[in-house]
Structures are given as structure tokens and as C-alpha cells.
Symmetry: none
Subunit: 213 residues, 4 copies
Amino acid sequence: MATVTPRQRRKDARPQELLDAALALFVEKGFAATRSEEIAARAGVAKGTLYRYYPSKDELFKAMVRENLSVHITESAAQAALHTGSIADLLHQMMRAWWAKVGHGNAGVVCKVMMVEARHFPELARFYVDEVIKPSQNLIGGLIERGIRSGEFRAVPVEATVHLLIAPMLHMLLHEHSFGEHDICHQTMSAEDLLDAQMALLLHGLLAAPPRT
Amino acid sequence: MATVTPRQRRKDARPQELLDAALALFVEKGFAATRSEEIAARAGVAKGTLYRYYPSKDELFKAMVRENLSVHITESAAQAALHTGSIADLLHQMMRAWWAKVGHGNAGVVCKVMMVEARHFPELARFYVDEVIKPSQNLIGGLIERGIRSGEFRAVPVEATVHLLIAPMLHMLLHEHSFGEHDICHQTMSAEDLLDAQMALLLHGLLAAPPRT
Amino acid sequence: MATVTPRQRRKDARPQELLDAALALFVEKGFAATRSEEIAARAGVAKGTLYRYYPSKDELFKAMVRENLSVHITESAAQAALHTGSIADLLHQMMRAWWAKVGHGNAGVVCKVMMVEARHFPELARFYVDEVIKPSQNLIGGLIERGIRSGEFRAVPVEATVHLLIAPMLHMLLHEHSFGEHDICHQTMSAEDLLDAQMALLLHGLLAAPPRT
Amino acid sequence: MATVTPRQRRKDARPQELLDAALALFVEKGFAATRSEEIAARAGVAKGTLYRYYPSKDELFKAMVRENLSVHITESAAQAALHTGSIADLLHQMMRAWWAKVGHGNAGVVCKVMMVEARHFPELARFYVDEVIKPSQNLIGGLIERGIRSGEFRAVPVEATVHLLIAPMLHMLLHEHSFGEHDICHQTMSAEDLLDAQMALLLHGLLAAPPRT
DNA sequence: AATGAATGAGAGTTCATTCAT
DNA sequence: GATGAATGAACTCTCATTCAT
């Protein structure tokens, strides 16, 4: 029978512990300003131990990004296909779900470090674009098109509309992590409130008097 | 009258040349990955000369941010007060103007480096929040309120609406600088087109059938 | 009678296996560039196991040298005393035997690593000088003296002649291990051929016309 | 008029000072055991200064070897062609000259470090073989052949004879630098004495009675 | 004022050695 | 006894900053 010693248990958890420590520090201080030793220390190990698991700080960064994204890459496209009600409701639901699952947690923070470090890690940036950004855009874009075809939506330009749906949430994330401690405005406005306001506004428009008869 | 030799002219231009070189390199590679010597070289001077103008790389960064932002800080609030037509038009105009003057040029990319380096330069971040972000939000927020009071707009939540107006443009800027070479989508969609689509969508809403009687 | 299990046999062979692995790697890459773990791996054990047999990499090195040399230290002095024929023949025989037994095998390459690492292991260098070099010189030197006394040899300077006998073979060894892959000359000239040529030359001289009447 | 400041003078001398320091330490302790900082310190500069002149410790090593050898590479082949007297005298002269100029000085020591580090620097080893060893062998070999053709020498095997001429001096060099402090024998026998004995022995042979009638 | 040679603190990485399992 | 995860001293190399010229 396979016995698992405490040491073994620790060993198995190490990679994730290092990844978590790295993510936290990369968000807090950026990649360049985070010392390998700090990451190790935060993960509760010595400097050298880090290198048993990742061959370099660069590779640790890449692993950290991939690990945190891979969880969400193949998700949520499926549920969209099943939905039968209004596309507007579906969009609203999906975005709330995204915020709850992704925006809030590690994966959300990865969006920030990925943007900040994109120029330093071009291959990783491409991976991120191909595996995260593009699929998300396609998913949302497909729903908009469905809505237009079904007559639920007006014939809006799809690409721009996708951007208008995604940008506010993402930007709030970035803004929060960069200026959160200086700009308290977003502490008075919860992400959920923003999301609701965003959907209401996008759906019904800003104007009091509808321009159509 | 004081004669100004070419040499003198050159010397007077130094600070700005250094600031420009710094901005270009900080955008391209980030603060940490840019060597002082590179900045000096790009500005056409020797390494040591940089330190005659700015006492440290940190101070050079701060000066660069302040210099590029200060131009735009107190602008465009005035024209808002004078405007008499529809607020929607005013907003549209202002955003086009912002993109043309700010988003396009140096000040635009400063938004990116500021966000990227915010955690390293907390005082600068506070300055940026106080002098750029807050005033902008107040300006837009004031217009929205004016629109609501005048009955042009529905009684939307002001704070969230401000965010919805600002985020898409800012996010496009960031995205472009981080992933531009990998995500060609934004090369097919001009900023101006996006802006027009954004205004149209925000004003009239996404829904085909207006929900109000 | 004590039974010896295969496991026991394995364990008993460990020290020698480690020594062999160490020798091979030290010759190939030098002491400093050889990692303890490589030695262990080559000997088929784990890193930690090495330290159960030798307390440090340094001690392993010393043990390896001593082990490989000790075999040959006290040899071949005896047979010299018994010999009755010409000293020239005896010298020739002894050198052929040395090459066959020592030069060819492990002890030969130990000469190289010993020379390479002599400055790092002064005590070992002294041991090597006292137990290998000096006895060899004395052995050969004694034979030369015997030859001179018996009238077989001219009254040559003993010390220098010893060096002239030893140096070519030793140098070929070193050269081969350092430059063998780049200097193919020695692949076209076998050690045995060289040895024969050396003896012929040393005995009869290079000149066509003998200077004596 | 070109003025040369003391600082400039120092700067120009730096590369050679570093090369000299490196050579001394590489001989003393080997490449791996010599720390960059030690080299710098011995050259009288700080750690970082070394890297202004050589991009890495490896490149410093290569430069050191090349610099010390390049002086002697194209030398002394010319004088051989001019000589008209006995080849034996020429050989004797050349070897004395080699010892005085090369064996004694830096270039001699380079022979040792080159042999010791050959496996770590394969391209350099090839350079050394092609530019130093092979030309030397060709030079000596050519003279032997000339001597044989002219009837001065017996019809000895050229390759082996070249080796027998070169090996003793080279080996003494290596031995001296590795075991000099433990084996005092060579302190009682000068290189010049050895060389004279070597030539006498090689020319006239060891045997008292010439084997020819 | 401008230069760029020099500095040295500091970062990433390696690896001999230890020790809990 | 054997293992290999963990350690941390030591090493190479970088680069912001200084200062003699």
C-alpha cells in the first residue's frame, strides 16, 4: 500500500506553493523587482529549493501564468451553447460568473501581471492571446451575433461591442491592483454593482428618450 | 539681448530629450529592464551626463511622468463649462479630442507605464490619481449629472457610467501596447471607430426593442 | 561460514564503483566541473549514498588517487634486482610493462588528474611525489647507474637521463588526454612504436657517424 | 597634440594587467578555482571593472591564452630556413632559445593551463593544436628530415623523434608547475643542464660501445 | 559641463552537504 | 542503509551611481 509521508505531502504541494507565492509577489512588486529569494521565503523554503522545481525565475513566471490560466481556458464555452433564454440574460450571467470565478481570484490577477510583463515574455504573451483573449472574444462575439440574428439585439458592430463588454471589468481589475490604495472610488462601488450598471446601460442606453419612434 | 548659441540651445533641450528617450524605453521594456546608459545613449549623451540633469533613475522616471501629464491636467475642463448643446455631443467630442491629443501621443503611453510601475512609485501613483484620474472622473461625472438634471439622460448611476465611458479607450491603449503585436484585432478596428461605436451603444443601448413604453 | 547475499556483494563493491565513476569523470571534466551527483549517478547510487562511503568530494578524490596508485607503488622494483642480462634490455622491458599495465589503464589517467589538481591537493601531491615519482626515479636511476658501473652505458648524467626516459611516455599520456581529439598525430603513432623508437634513439643516438673512434 | 592622461594610461594598460593577473592565478589554482574577483583584485581593480574589458571569465581565459601565444606563433620558423651549419647545432640552439624565451616566461606557463583546461575549452584547444603544437612539430620535423637527407642523421622515424625532442622540456615545465614545491629534484638540475644532457644523449646515444662496426 | 572608467551592492544560479524519512 | 528534498554559502555577472579628468 502506498504510504504518503508528511515530507512527501509537502513535496507535492511545493510547486503550487511556489506558484502562489510568485503570483502574489509579482502582482505586488512586478517581476523584475521580486527577488527569487523572496518568493522562496514566502513559500516557506530556502532560495535553492525554488530551483529544484523551476529552472529559472523566468520559467517560474511562465509556469505561474500557465498554471493559473489553464484552469479557466476550456471552461464556460460549453454552457453558452446550452442556454435557450435571452442572450442578454446569458451575457449578464456569464459575466457575473466570470467575475466570481476569475476576476476575483488568482486568474484575475494574472491578467494584470500578464499585461505588465507581456513585452518581456513574448511567447507567453502569444500563448495568452491565443488561449485566453481570442477565445473569450470569440465566445462573447458569438453570443452577440446570435442576439443580432434572433432580433434580440440591434445590428451593432460585433467587435467593438465585445470590447465594450469586456474592457470595463478588466480595466477595473487592473486599476484596482495598480491604484487601489490611492483611489478609493472603487471601494465604494463593488464590482457587482458596476457589472449590473454596465449591463443595464449597455442594454438600454444612456438616453432618456429613445431615438426610435 | 542674450545671444543663444547652438550649443546653448542643445543644452536647454537636454532635459526634454532625456525625458523623451526615457519614455520610449520605459514603454518598450519597462522601468527595471531599461538601463540608464540606454536612455543616455538614446538622448545622444553619455551616461554621466544624465546624472547632471536627474539625480537618479527613479527621479528621472518621476520627472518623465509628471512632465508628460502636466500638460494635460488642467486642460479641457474649461471648454466643458462653456458648452451649451447636448451633453451627449459634448461627451463624444471630448472623448474624440482626448484620443486625438492624449491617447495617441506620449501622454497615452504614460498611462501604461504609470499603471505598470504604480506599485514601485507610490507617491507618483498618488499624484497620478489626484491630478489625472480624479479630475477626469469629476469632469465626466459632472457632465453626466448635468445630463441627468437636464433630462437628457436617464437616472443612471454616475460613478459606474463614468467608468464605462473611460475604461474602453484606456483599456484599448493598454492592450495595444502589451499585446499589439500578437493580437491584430485592434489593427482592424480603429480607435475612432471604437469610440463611435461606444458612444452609439452607450447612448441607445444594445436592445432592439426599447423596454420603455 | 558467512553467507554473502547479492545485496551484500553489491554493497561491498560500492566503494570501488564510486572510485571508478569518480576517476572517469575527473579525467573527462576535471575535479571542479564534476558534480557529486554525477559521480553517484554513474556509480548507480543516489547522491546521499556517496557520503556514506566518503565524507566529502575532496576525500573521494584523494581516495581515488591513492587507490589507483597504491597497486603499482611497490611493484616492479623486485624484478629489477633479479635481472642479469643487459640493462638496456631490462629498461626496455620495464617500460613496455609500465605502459601495458599503468599507462594504458586507470593508473595512467590518474597521472593526468594528479598533475591537473596537484595545487588543490598539496598533501596528495606530496604523497604522489614521495610514493610514485621518487620511487620510479630511483628505480630507473639505479639501473642507469648499474649500467654505467658495468660499462654498458657511457657516463651520462643520471638525473637528466632518467627524465629523458620517463618524460616522453608520460607526456604522450597527458597530451593524448588533453588534445587527443584535436591532434590526431598520436593516433597514427602507437605508444609501443614510440617506445621502441625512443629506446633505439636513446641507445644509439641520432647521429649517423659516431663521434668516437 | 594628443595628450595622454594618467587615467588614460592606466586604461590602456588594464587589459594586459588583467591578463597577467589571470594567468598567474590560473596557473596557481586552475581556472575553476580562481574567482573573478581575485583576478580583479590582483590586477588592482574592482570586480566590475574586469567585465568592462572581458565579457565573461571564459572569454578572459581565451584572451589570456591567445594573447600569450600569439607573440610566439609566427616566430622562429624563419631562422630555421636560413641556417647553414649542422642541423644538430641548429636544433640545440633553437631549443635553448625556446626555453629562454618561451619556456621561462608566460607562454610556457600557458602550456600548462592550456593542457589542464583543454577539455573545458575545446575550440581553444583546437586553436592551440593548430597554431602552436602542429607548427612546432612541423618545424622540428622538417629539420630532422633535412638532417636525414643530408646524411647528418640516421634514418630515424621522424614523428617519434620530434616527440622525443619536445616532450622532455614540456614535461619538465608541467612537472615544475604541478609538483615543483614537493619535488626538489628539478631545482638541482637546471633546465639548461637538462637540455644539454638531452641533446648529447639524443645525438650520441646511451650506449658506450657503438653497435655499428 | 561632459565624459566614461571605475565601483560595489545586489541579483540569479549552482552544488556540496545534511538529514528526515 | 539508502534516498533525494532541502539548505545556504559561494560564485558569476549586472548596472546605478560616482568622480577624476
